[in-house]
């Protein structure tokens, strides 16, 4: 029975091609949308992820880094450093602003870090040194390339001329880029002397970040403290909330396309094979057997579509990343599994229309010329 189902499905190669390609493109659409958002999330989280530290300390009432402003007196750093659980504290100043270079505007996260404690600066350098001086700046190598800038050139930021001392990597994205300055310089530009935005706390071995976070919150009522995994989680949630509606709408459209393509293909196949289904019924097939044929064909088109769709998605992601280098597309295996399950369920659901048609086939059709 399944051999017949497969053969009859493969017989009409044009229809099979249309069905498979239709499903594949639905999948490509969904995977790329998810991939772009996942990539953006990854880019936005890059700084937190790549910076050492067990605990992030910020102003009370603030629980994320992006889309937030945090400010507190920097003397807290010295106090926290004295706690027995603490190994090191890194202060950073952080703000969103625009860097105008070469006639282009780059929206970026500006991070002022203490160069002596290199760990809170750029995590990967393409050129130059992390040790950013007071009047120096580190920009991403893509910004430098686009603006034809090199180490030693100057850029203007907030009315001051800063010399490029290094070019960072993996710090450029569609949503925003990271630009690094000297901690004191950014305070000065910000007119926020002795004010820090965040503190990154490195704990001594064996210390529990969650417990220490509780202690900080109790001891310093003006501050909030969050462990690194928790901060990454809440940042991720915030980003997903920002993009979730777009993802939902586009996903629903893609799922509808997939549903219609499968339903239409299997339905037309069932209509064209009405006579054959009648013959099969006449010689003794039960309706359940015919449903199985339709379901099998529906699932087959979905599975072929999924396989091709996954390949096309990876290929498409590679091409897009090459054309638009600011984009990072991450196609996670878990997303593929989730969407594949959805498409398989859709294919089962879309088989219900031809199944109804098949159930009405009169076996007496076999006696007609």
């Amino acid at each position: 029975m399944f051999s017949y189902a497969l053969k009859s499905f493969l017989q009409d190669k044009t229809k099979l091609f249309i069905a498979v390609i239709g499903i594949a493109f639905s999948l490509v659409l969904i995977l790329l949308i998810y991939g772009i958002f996942k990539g953006t999330e990854e880019q936005v989280l890059a700084y937190i992820k790549n910076t050492r530290g067990d605990l992030w300390v910020m102003q009370k009432g603030v629980s994320t880094m992006h889309m937030s402003s945090s400010a507190f007196p920097e003397f807290y750093a010295a106090q926290i450093k004295k706690e027995k659980e603490v190994k090191e504290v890194y202060k950073i100043v952080y703000l969103n602003n625009v860097l105008k270079v070469g006639g282009k505007k780059y929206f970026a996260y500006f991070l002022g870090f203490e160069p002596a404690k290199k760990t809170s600066g750029p995590w990967k350098m393409a050129e130059g040194d992390k040790n950013v001086g007071l009047n120096e700046i580190i920009i991403d190598k893509k910004i430098a390339r686009e603006s034809k800038l090199k180490i030693g050139d100057s850029v203007k930021f907030m009315g001051q001329s800063l010399e490029i001392s290094g070019l960072s990597e993996e710090t450029y994205s569609l949503a925003s880029s990271y630009i690094f300055l000297n901690y004191r310089k950014l305070q000065e530009l910000f007119k926020a002397e002795k004010i820090a935005s965040y503190m990154i706390v490195d704990l001594r071995e064996g210390q529990n970040p969650r417990e220490f976070a509780k202690k900080i919150k109790q001891k310093y009522p003006d501050l909030n403290a969050i462990s690194k995994p928790k901060l990454m989680d809440s940042e991720g949630k915030m980003i997903r909330r920002m993009g979730i509606e777009t993802i939902r709408v586009l996903s629903v459209i893609a799922y509808i396309i997939g549903f219609l393509v499968i339903a239409f293909t299997v339905y037309t196949l069932a209509v064209e094979r009405t006579r054959e289904f009648g013959i099969i019924k006449a010689i003794g097939a039960r309706n359940t057997g015919l449903y199985a044929i339709v379901l099998f064909q529906s699932l087959t088109s979905a599975i072929f579509g999924l396989i091709i769709g996954v390949f096309l998605s990876y290929g498409g992601a590679y091409l897009i990343e090459r054309i638009a280098s600011e984009l990072l597309i991450i196609i996670a295996p878990s997303t593929i599994v989730r969407i594949s399950v959805a498409i398989v369920l859709i294919s089962i659901f879309s088989a219900s229309i031809p199944v109804y048609k098949v159930s009405k086939v009169d076996p007496l059709i076999a006696f007609r010329e």
Partner: protein, 276 residues
Amino acid sequence: MKNSIVVEANELSKIFGEGHLAVRAVDRVNLKIHEGEIILIMGPSGSGKTTLLSILGALLKPTDGKVEINGIEITKLNEGKLPGIRVNNIGFIFQSFNLLSSASALENVVFPLSLSGKKSSANRKRARKLLEDLGLGNRLNYLPKNLSGGEKQRVSIARALINDPRLILADEPTANLDSKSGHEVMMLLHDIAKKQKKTVVIVSHDMRIMDIADRVLQLEDGRLVEGGIFLVEDPVCGMRIPKEKAIAKSVFEGKTYYFCSKTCQEKFKKNPQIFF
């Protein structure tokens, strides 16, 4: 001893439509068909031949009356049980062959096995053997579109036989064939009935099939013409003639023989032994 009854229909009627639009397609048909018997059902278009065949094939429920196939009263069974009756007890041969276009000759023959749950390597071998016996050993993997009409009908016959049913129903099996292929198919049906002891019911307009039929049933306006026509073979010239229209008859060793002409009868009387 008379062979056992394979098909029995009692007071079988089928009415399509209602009220003054009602059409009685089959009208109080009574029928007994024995094992190994070949029955030819003839009649003008619209006389109810195919409707009768569909009822006998468990494809259509009669309005009244009952049908027994192999002693099972199929008219009592619910819709869910009828496919099982069809696949195990009845083989169908259709006018337009009705092979599955995407399946090879061998796969077409094997297909009913998957419906009856008898798909085994032994049965696959049997399908192959059936096709070889029907002269299609070199066409096993051909798709129907690459077979001639006669070959298609032979595949269809093999498919009808694969589950070893006692009853074969054939709807105009020679209609789409040239005379040579038609004759071959007729002879195959004859052999199936006589050598394999299958009961063969044929609906056809083809008068040639009378040559192999044991009985011809004439259907008019849904009713069987009383008694039907019993065909007998003239032992001298081999011609098959309706028993009641025989020109002459003779009894030899306690058995009655029928002749198409006086001349045949005379030849027989002179030396009966040479005709056996």
